[in-house]
Amino acid sequence: MLRLIGRRLLLMVPTLILASMLIFALAEVLPGDVARSILGPYATQEQVDLLNQRLGADRPVYERYVDWAGGFVTGDWGDSLLFDEAVLPLVMRSLGNSLLLAGFALVLIVPTSIAVGVFAGLRRDSLLDRGITVSTLSMTVIPEFVSGVVLLYVFAVWLKWLPVTALPPSGSPFVSRFYYLILPAIPLMLLELGYIARMARVGTVQVLAMPYIRTAVLKGLPRRRVIFGHMLRNAMVPTVTVIGTQIGWLIGGLVVVEVLFAYPGIGNIMVQAAKNKDLPLLEASVLMVAILYMVSNLIADIVVALLNPRIRMGG
């Protein structure tokens, strides 16, 4: 088990190096330039050149990369070119905000979707099962910016049950943040519900057909014990794997939701940095998201291994 974790952690290093190079290379191909973003389309070429020189953005790409990478590993992440701020605290603060939102969304998503999926699986092919499958699947195809706007209109503008912003006024107690995060979390939940519930349903249906479940039923165990004691543990293996990979999707969803709700998270920062070629900021935020993605996948694998001893042995 420890070997599995160690190997996976080691694999992360080359992946991250490759990702950081890719970001630099892609940013080179992207249109635009940072001094032009700062000074606007009406500044003269000379003015833009001068600023690029001052920012060091006119140096060859490999030189900038080596410089940046050297700083990054020693903890000097540099300053944002757009904002008068150091990258490290800015990214960490934004990441903290995003994790709070994503974590809150996951707390809503995981139990709800597993409950819905297992419920549908237990009533396989009933009207209810089909209703749940169709409705959760249709929700996954509604883009977050559509569901977000509709939810905002209904719950914040029309009914006025929930706040329209994603952040409480400064000075509010920390707990009040969750109340403000309900609306932004729902579009994320709608997006993920369909995938995870479907996996939970499939897992349930498959496990229910296994001989050991039949044995458990036949030996007279109460239904509750069959479901919670025997079925759930085995039915959850594919679901956990999917949850791990869906965290990546969740972060993609965050970009949209954070922009719509003006939430100061990592998604919002990434969009700004990419649009304006703020490379130090873009690199740091994308790498943090990459690390998050890999760690969540690793955790999913560990949980799967714990659920299924055969994987543990093979590792």
């Binding site: 500044a43 003269t44 001068l50 706007v149 912003t165």
Partner: protein
């Protein structure tokens, strides 16, 4: 002749023009303001003209209640692209923010006329090449230091220095050179221009937004050190989230009754990028004012019983340029005109702006938006004429053209309309839609020679409001203008334009404008189908916001009733 004599004569000249019916009363007021004639003098001039009151434009504050003191107003708009620096800002978020705590020598009023701010009055010499500005006395910066001529000189010199990267430099180049500003005494500044320029006051007004007056000690970090003379003081700035202001207790401004301004205790600017999210916040009541409301998606705001949408005579445009460096537009006036006659401008206005914008006919001298302009000749959709012109142009069987534009604001819809309306005449328009960033991107080594907005054969470029037609024309129609997408070069027009800029005499100026306008229209280097009306949305209990919409949201006399 002394300056006073000259001003008196100019005032008499304006009254004469007005009496003869060559100018409307609104035009007279705008021209009087450019020449620094005070509101009292302008009032006397209007009385001398006689005639009836004209409707005033802008603002919806009819039946305004008595001001209420105190309270905080929340504005909503996009975040500045970078942390704002007054010397380089160019985007709405940056300008709205800076405008709350910094001031200009001159401000724009609700109909793009000029009103004194840090300058109390200004006068040109007889040639129009030396302008003297008398500064307001007793004004202090919010750090306690006095506002004097030295601050004006350093502020203007700062934007003239290429190393500072100010967009204002492009507007001032050829008009004012470094060293052209001089302090006559503590409260008098003299600008010696490179050439006579009748519209110079606009160049140092809020219309040229990088010319905000900063303290002479300004070192470049306005967010951490927000020193200004404006009605509010920046107390907190959270990047991409919000900016908080409190009132400046030592602000110089007083209202008509002598009450201390501003009325409000403070204001907050909430930064939200997404337009529909902004509208939802307004509708939910979380914020009070949206300085710039975009037409797309504004229908819900028009119908909301708690909100009021004010309409201002904006001068923003979408320039459709024919690049005359390349085929098929090069040396082919008939072809350019053919496209112009395909457009149904009424239908475009209806589709894009709910019919609320002013129509344009491919010239900058449009009397509906720029008072004092000669009448232009309307251009209605006329397919017979378009086909005839197409045939004259050497394309009797029609042709294929490409229209390049950014996926930004209403440009995609506008491009679509042009495509649809050109088709019946046999002109097949292929749309080349780029991202906003790609449209304005260019090679580092030669930006101006490579960027699509200045080099594609036919383009749509969005331009914000400019307060006078000459400022638009100088920026995009002169052969040496760096932002010329059409690369038009008509020597007759260029020499007339030179005369226009240096002529103060109103009759000859109108005369020259008429010629400029008709040459521009006939040659059709660019299509100007409309001038976009500006919308500002606020809660119904918010009153007293000044300024001609969007960027300039003057809250010094704003207040909220219960």
């Amino acid at each position: 002749m002394t300056t006073d004599q000259y001003r008196r004569e100019y005032a008499e000249h304006l009254i004469e023009q007005c009496k003869k019916g060559h100018m409307t009363r609104r035009q007279l007021l705008v021209r009087a303001s450019v020449f620094g004639l005070s509101a009292t003098v302008a009032g006397q001039m209007l009385a001398a003209c006689g005639g009836s009151e004209e409707e005033t434009t802008g603002g919806g504050d009819s039946g305004m209640p008595d001001p209420v003191m105190g309270g905080t107003i929340k504005l909503i708009g996009p975040a500045p692209i970078t942390d704002p620096d007054p010397v380089t800002i160019y985007d709405q978020g940056g300008i709205v923010l800076v405008y709350q705590f910094l001031e200009y020598l001159i401000d724009l009023d609700n109909s793009n006329g000029l009103k004194p701010k840090l300058a109390e009055s200004w006068t040109p010499d007889e040639t129009g090449s030396v302008w003297t500005f008398n500064l307001r006395q007793g004004v202090t910066f919010n750090d306690g230091s006095p506002f004097e001529a030295e601050d004006v000189i350093t502020s203007i010199e700062r934007v003239l220095d290429p190393a500072n990267g100010s967009g204002a430099l492009s507007q001032l180049s050829g008009v004012l050179s470094p060293g052209g500003a001089r302090a006559v005494d503590q409260y008098t500044v003299e600008f010696t221009l490179d050439k006579p320029y009748a519209d110079f006051p606009y160049m140092v007004s809020s219309g040229n937004y990088n010319t905000a007056i900063l303290s002479r000690n300004y070192t470049g970090d306005i967010v951490k050190n927000p020193v200004g003379t404006g009605p509010f003081m920046l107390t907190d700035y959270v990047t991409k989230q919000k900016a908080t202001f409190v009132k400046n207790p030592s602000y110089w401004g007083k209202d008509a009754e002598g009450r201390q301004l501003p009325y409000l205790d403070g204001m907050e600017y909430v930064m939200v990028e997404d337009n529909s999210a902004q509208n939802l916040q307004l509708q939910s009541g979380a914020v009070d004012v949206q300085p710039q409301t975009v037409f797309q998606g504004a229908q819900a705001l028009f119908g909301d019983p708690n909100l009021r949408v004010d309409i201002y005579p904006g001068t923003g445009i979408r320039e459709v340029a024919f690049n005359m460096n390349v085929e098929p537009w090069k040396d082919n006036k008939a072809l350019r005109q053919a496209v112009a006659y395909c457009l149904d401008r009424e239908a475009i206005n209806q589709a894009l702006y709910d019919g609320r914008s002013n129509l344009g006919y491919d010239t900058f001298w449009e009397p509906t938006v720029f008072p004092g302009s000669p009448a232009s000749t309307p251009r209605a959709q006329d397919y017979d004429k378009a086909k005839q012109l197409l045939s004259d142009a050497g394309y009797p069987d029609g042709l294929d053209i490409t229209l390049t534009h950014a996926k930004y604001l209403e440009n995609p819809q506008y491009a679509q309309l042009i495509q649809d309306q050109c088709k019946p005449a046999g002109i097949n328009v292929k749309l080349d839609q780029l991202s906003y960033e790609a449209y304005y991107a260019g090679d580092d080594a030669d930006y101006y020679g490579t960027t699509p907005w200045l080099n594609a054969p036919m383009t749509i470029t969005e331009w914000g409001s400019r307060p006078a037609p000459g400022i638009f024309a100088a920026a995009m129609l002169l052969p040496d203008a760096v932002w010329s997408s059409s690369h038009w070069n008509n020597p007759e027009w260029v020499s007339l334009f030179d005369q226009y800029q240096s002529t103060a005499d109103e009759a000859s100026r109108t005369d020259i404008a008429a010629q400029l306008s008709s040459i521009q229209q006939d040659d059709t280097p660019i299509l100007l189908a409309f001038y976009i009306t500006q919308l500002r949305t606020q809660k119904k209990n918010v009153y007293g916001i000044q300024g001609p919409g969007s960027f300039y949201c003057d809250l010094s006399q704003a207040f909220m009733t219960a």
